[in-house]
Assembly symmetry: C2
Homo-oligomer: 331 residues x 2
């Protein structure tokens, strides 16, 4: 049985502003020309990487409010989350503003989760302007989830590189911008992958599940979208997703891409590509939004995945449950 | 300037079922007669405390669906969060069900945050039935946030006892039950408290902020409610809140209470009382809902607070940002 997981939004809230900030390595990648701000180094003037991550989120929020031509007092709510324990980057960033704060957690799917919730709140007439934000930092994620940075651990070929960056957007019914027409909330899917260095393989089944639900609920096919884009399945995970969908008789063609797979140039040595909540957040709020605004893309299906593990669950032998939330944005 | 933070719900979604499960110490406390299930021990048949916490959430979700006289296929969405890193208790519990999953993080305010979001989704016509759930476990919280359990660390007099328990409820427009009439999303408030053993003092200003906004936005006073109840400010924090409100010319009278302050009997030696996301979740979904259902309470303002710190933010010298989300439930 296919459950009804897709909400079709009557008023189709607009994304009236988007902002992206990244680290220097990300700025040298394939999307370098599209970001609003490229930091000179990963510390961003702070004495810890965690405070740098927080400052990126604050910068993205301040930046997106300006780009949306709003004042802080116009913002009715901030919806944000991140990868750090207790989503401290988002909560501490929220402290800097006087916005009602809705903290969410969807790991690397957070950009879509926050936009999905925000779009519903705007569509339902509960809020006028909502800021959605997320980000990640290579050095905070690496030392929280994996190994001390000082260890200089060798990375297996399936591993990905956590993006240092943050993205934010503003949802509204007023103003101009691409519209969020549908949102699909994903189920938690776990096919038993336990390798924390192979997130793409763990997350691909969640993307499959949400894609199948979305196509079924909306009676659309891949051909209905100019771009179908996952978040950070990476090179391996996105190939797995193509195979899994092929098994279901659905071909993801040249209009399918993955932000993590596309993020870096080959000589940047990131193995399977970019990852982290900031990966799709910075691509969506720069490159994808630019192409939607100039009409090159008419209809985009954005469906980042998140791996919902923790170091504790891994240490206790659990496999990796994943989720994938989808939004449709139309120019 | 007071920002409009309160949503008045036109259709007033009903809470058609509630369920609570607690550990043995909690079962011996003041609300012992009201809980649906009291575990014989804190392990609940699992080999780790984290897995026991997860099983409590699964039990609460299964239990509340039965009590609401629904089938799992009737549930459109599950909204949940908890205190563990990456909210693993909620995500892994969600894995056991085939519900679209919206992960939220508001620390000990999660019960109100999830009901607030869920009530809006039901009120707006996006979902028919939503399960909201949260919980906490003394042993998982203690060893994640504070010290190894084996250390047997002495507890300072301002400390509180994390509740081992989980609570869940079902929101719907069909069926019978008390109604959620208003929700107020809180701002992140930080008055500079750094003592992680005095959460009540850290969180009281957030409760003050949300209370002032709520009273202002809804043009209500304390006398309009049969019960105004915070989550886990504890004995000290609830007294601080009373003082802070008194300074604003608002008297919280005998109709004000705090779940943490009321949870345990004096001889149970919990110092400032109960705490944790499971604290207000189990009291709300047992005692408070029972009194609403039998008409003893006509109108309840439920506003749990959450401390949005992590061990990393504490180690880096940060103070404790807090949030407080409020819902109004009417019989």
């Amino acid at each position: 049985m296919q459950r009804e997981q897709t909400f079709k939004l009557k008023k189709k809230p607009k994304i009236i502003g988007s902002y992206s900030i990244v680290g220097p390595k990300e700025g040298n990648g394939n999307f370098g020309d599209y970001f609003d701000y490229v930091m000179k180094n990963d510390c961003f003037g702070e004495d810890t990487f965690e405070k740098a991550e927080r400052k990126m989120l604050e910068t993205a929020i301040t930046g997106v409010i300006q780009k949306a031509k709003l004042q802080p007092r116009d913002v009715d709510m901030m919806i944000a989350g991140d990868l750090l324990n207790q989503i401290i980057s988002s909560s501490y960033a929220a402290r800097a503003f006087q916005f009602p704060f809705l903290g969410v957690y969807g790991a690397c799917s957070t950009m879509a989760e926050s936009i999905a919730v925000g779009a519903v709140l705007v569509d339902g007439g509960y809020c006028d302007n909502i800021v959605c934000c997320t980000g990640s930092h290579f050095s905070t994620a690496e030392r929280q989830y994996r190994f001390p940075l000082e260890l200089g651990n060798q990375r297996p070929p399936t591993s990905q590189w956590t993006i240092t960056g943050a993205g934010a957007c503003v949802l509204s019914l007023a103003g101009e911008g691409p519209r969020v027409s549908m949102v699909t909330f994903g189920k938690v899917v776990d096919w038993g992958v336990k390798d924390v260095n192979d997130m793409g393989a763990a997350m691909a089944p969640a993307a499959r599940d949400t894609l199948l639900s979305h196509f079924h609920n909306t009676k659309t096919t891949p051909e209905d979208y100019d771009l179908i884009v996952t978040g950070d399945l990476g090179k391996l995970g996105s190939e797995i997703l193509i195979d899994l969908m092929e098994d279901e008789g659905i071909t993801l063609g040249v209009n399918y891409g993955d932000c993590g797979q596309m993020y870096f140039r080959h000589d940047q040595k990131t193995l399977c590509g970019g990852s982290g909540a900031g990966c799709c957040a910075t691509v969506f709020n720069s490159y994808i939004m630019a192409k939607l605004r100039d009409g090159q893309y008419k209809k985009v299906l954005f469906l980042p995945t998140g791996a919902l593990l923790s170091t504790t669950s891994t240490q206790q032998g659990d496999s990796i449950p994943c989720v994938c939330h989808a939004i449709v944005v139309e120019s």
